[in-house]
Amino acid sequence: MIEDLDGTGGADGPPPAAVSPSTRSSPGGLSGNYAIELQGISKRFGAVLANRDIDLRVERGTIHGIVGENGAGKSTLMSILYGFYQADSGKVLINGSPVSIHNSRDAIASGIGMVHQHFMLVETFSVLENVMLGAEEHALLSRSAADARTELQRLADQYQLSVHVDTLVSELPVGEQQRTEILKALYRHAEILILDEPTGVLTPQEADQLFRVLRALKARGVTIILITHKLREIMDITDTVSVLRMGEMVAHLNTSETSMSELAELMVGRKLESKSYHREVPLPADTEVGIEVVDLGVIDSRGKSRLQNLSFTVKRGEILGVAGVAGNGQSKLLEVLAGITPPTSGYFVINGHRISADKPGNPSLMRQYKVHHVPEDRLKLGLVKAFTAAESSVLGYQRAAQFNWRGLLQLDFIRNACRRLMDAFDVRPVDPRLKSASFSGGNQQKLILARELEKAPDVLLVGQPTRGVDIGAIELIHDKIIDMRDAGCAVLLVSVELDEIMSLADRIIVMFEGRIVAEVSGREADKTQLGLMMANAHQTAAGDAAA
């Protein structure tokens, strides 16, 4: 029953666009053994075919992984299963019988439970209220609450899912919020549990705990579908795995018979050449410093410490990578250096200008100091969706003398300048009058890079440069960043993609809860070790090893 990987992993040339999914997982026996079965699911958004003729079968009581790049169609598929979208064609079978799922209620009735990437919790409610919402048996709250409390206790004991039932969700740590979501599903008698990128916001310890829970659920016969782009998780916990690429299922495999590198190849559709951009010759020791951060701290308006005692330097002609699990202060650091948020303690000297709590900067001032910023969230910060490309191409430079004449914006000049940027950075379509929102993610990102790099910055702050960007554009973006480095620019690169940081950065600092917990050289960095550092577990691990 085992088929070969027809061309999907072929080293030479791109694979054919449409291949029949290679199937190496045992198809089981009767269809009744499948908890869930998809037949020929297609979904189109406008001209984009988000899902094309997707087949999937998951055996009852197994953990099935679905991997794919951003935009491969994973979320669309799951949204169809949970009734957010209706498929244009195809069938869904639960326990062998066809079902039609039009909304969440149908999905719940079919025994499907879903843990969304962004939790669906009412923050002002307690865990108990969140769990029973929509599943209250009685019109009176007190009776429903008593029932729910008993049932929650039972579930918590059964699956080691301890939560503080009466605590407000807003006061819970992320891991416990996620457990609340799982409890919600179980409380509704879910037999199929779908988790969408569940570890993105978790520390490795919390992730381990999650996986223990998932194994316990599997042991009780719950079927689990895990959507992720983290291959290690797939290898760790799943029984079978499917690979989505550009809306199509390209493989169904038994996890034990595949490898991370095979999955990675299937995901991207070609051999990944892990290109290293590191400098051949190290920078001379007396190279000028572009960014010097000394004892920097930020306490937010709620009194929570976001950055603590950060000190580091970035030399000109150097890329400093900042690694860390999302939400550990990297974004704040970018904001502070870009002048958006003022520091509350310490100071930094950027391109010779000292910024501190007493003498805060602002984004316009930083731009004058030739500090340019490619923001992490391009749709929220980097451009204005409703603006034309030309208008977005001067965002942040709207006051620059070259674009203004006697108080009036020089629109023709701006359009022509935008066209030149688009040509230089291969932004397509080359139409300055097109709305910014009409460009693909990669082209939006290239436009922003073009805007910031073209001004020849002395210091470049880059956040998640390739998030949600198509593969073709990634290389161009990386090359452009390297060009800046070679031109003598000090680059601070924040990314959650470890591969990206490891291949671009000369040095890497690792952030955890607003502090720097480690620094390593880019050339010597090891992914596992970085992972431990990101969880601030490397010292303990080292301690264990020493003991």
């Binding site: 001209a47 244009d88 969230d377 929220k380 980097g382 204005v384 969706k385 603006f387 006051r399 629109l411």
Partner: protein, 375 residues
């Protein structure tokens, strides 16, 4: 197959031409139903209204006089809208703008010549209107209170202040009705019939005065400001995304305050037309709901000066034609226009996208999806 029509772009002429007109037709259709319900033939009513608004030059004068007010308040709402602020306070700002004109003229009209009085009056109207918008704006920007609620409250507070001042302070001594004394003629903005008379053109006496030209100048100014200056660029950026504004070095708070002040000043200019141009004294309720009509005008005109001029003209027709209608048909009152205004706000504003899916489907029958959606 379910079709997500909102993601399908339509050509500009449908988006800004066909759909708004369909929305207005919907509103007028329901207005027609109301007329039928009270036993009036809507077609006859439309005839009377159009004749009443355009049929003779006095009618045209009145129509344009109303139009002037709506341009001011429509622009006021539109400027705030571009900064993503909903200024419901145009009524109060216009009222307080009138106070500004009144105070300045009551103090100065004996001493200064017209060449000084008129610019000072215009500035007073704008400054007082802006000041009345500044407080809610500041509260929203620096204290986080919601501008919709505060501007509503400020309308009532403005009304209370004006009643108090006119009844107790500014009233002309020895008079019963709460009005100030008449200003000196040097403070009067020339009427259109006077102005044209200087060039030998004879038209009928109407309240129409030179503030119409001022209103059109304001349209030009707003268009340049919003789309052709960096301040307008910054205002629109902050309106679309506060985060993007902050990233671009724009202070959203400054934008909130400046956009509202500009908006308030434009609303205050209603007093230029009403107080300086027509009544020549300060009196109660001269704003007569024009501030609220500005919301309908701005929605209909899609926040663009050209659209606002057209929408203002339509409302001018409705007001003047409506007055004529009430005169001709006893069963109908001027409030019919208020009801129509409500319907227009409903269909052009709150239900603006109701017909869009239908239009998209119709459009797609002529074009395939692949033609319409960029890949």
């Amino acid at each position: 197959m379910s079709l997500n029509t909102s993601s399908i772009p339509l050509p500009g002429w449908i988006e800004i031409g066909v759909i708004p007109v369909l929305n207005i037709l919907m509103a007028l259709f329901f207005a027609g139903l109301i007329m039928l319900a009270i036993g009036v033939n809507p077609l006859q009513a439309v005839g009377i209204m159009i004749n009443g608004a355009f049929g003779y030059d006095e009618a045209v004068g009145y129509t344009l006089y109303y139009t002037t007010n709506f341009i001011f308040t429509g622009l006021a709402v539109a400027v705030a809208f571009h900064a993503s602020l909903f200024n419901i306070g145009g009524e109060g700002q216009a009222y307080i703008g009138g106070l500004g004109v009144g105070l300045v003229f009551l103090l100065l009209d004996d001493f200064l010549p017209a060449v000084l009085l008129i610019p000072i009056g215009i500035m007073a109207a704008g400054l007082f209107g802006a000041a009345w918008a500044f407080i809610p704006a500041w509260l929203q920007a620096y204290r986080g209170s919601h501008i919709v609620i505060t501007t509503i409250m400020f309308n009532f507070i403005a009304a209370a202040i004006m009643v108090y001042l006119l009844v107790n302070v500014l009233i002309k001594p020895g008079q019963m009705s709460p009005e100030s004394r008449l200003f000196d003629e040097s403070a009067w903005l020339p009427f259109m019939h006077e102005f044209l008379g200087w060039f030998g053109v004879e038209i009928t006496r109407t309240p129409l005065n030179l503030s119409l030209f001022f209103a059109l100048t304001c349209c030009l100014f707003v268009w340049i400001y919003i789309w052709r200056t960096r301040w307008g660029y910054e205002l629109r950026t902050a309106g679309h995304s506060e985060d993007a504004a902050r990233y671009a070095g724009i202070r959203p708070r400054t934008v909130i305050v400046s956009a509202m002040c500009l908006s308030g000043a434009l609303a205050g200019f209603v007093a230029v037309n009403e107080i300086m141009g027509v009544h020549h004294r300060l009196l109660l309720n001269f704003t007569a709901g024009y501030g609220f009509t500005g919301i309908a005008v701005s929605l209909m005109g899609r926040n663009h000066p050209v659209g606002i001029i057209m929408a203002s003209l339509l409302f001018g027709v409705l007001y003047q034609g409506g007055a004529e209608l009430a005169f001709e048909i006893p069963k109908i009152t001027r409030e019919m226009v208020v009801a129509i205004q409500g319907l227009i706000i409903l269909f052009s504003g709150a239900l603006a996208l109701m017909l869009r899916p239908w239009v998209v489907r119709l459009y797609l029958r002529f074009k395939s999806v692949e033609d319409v959606v960029p890949a």
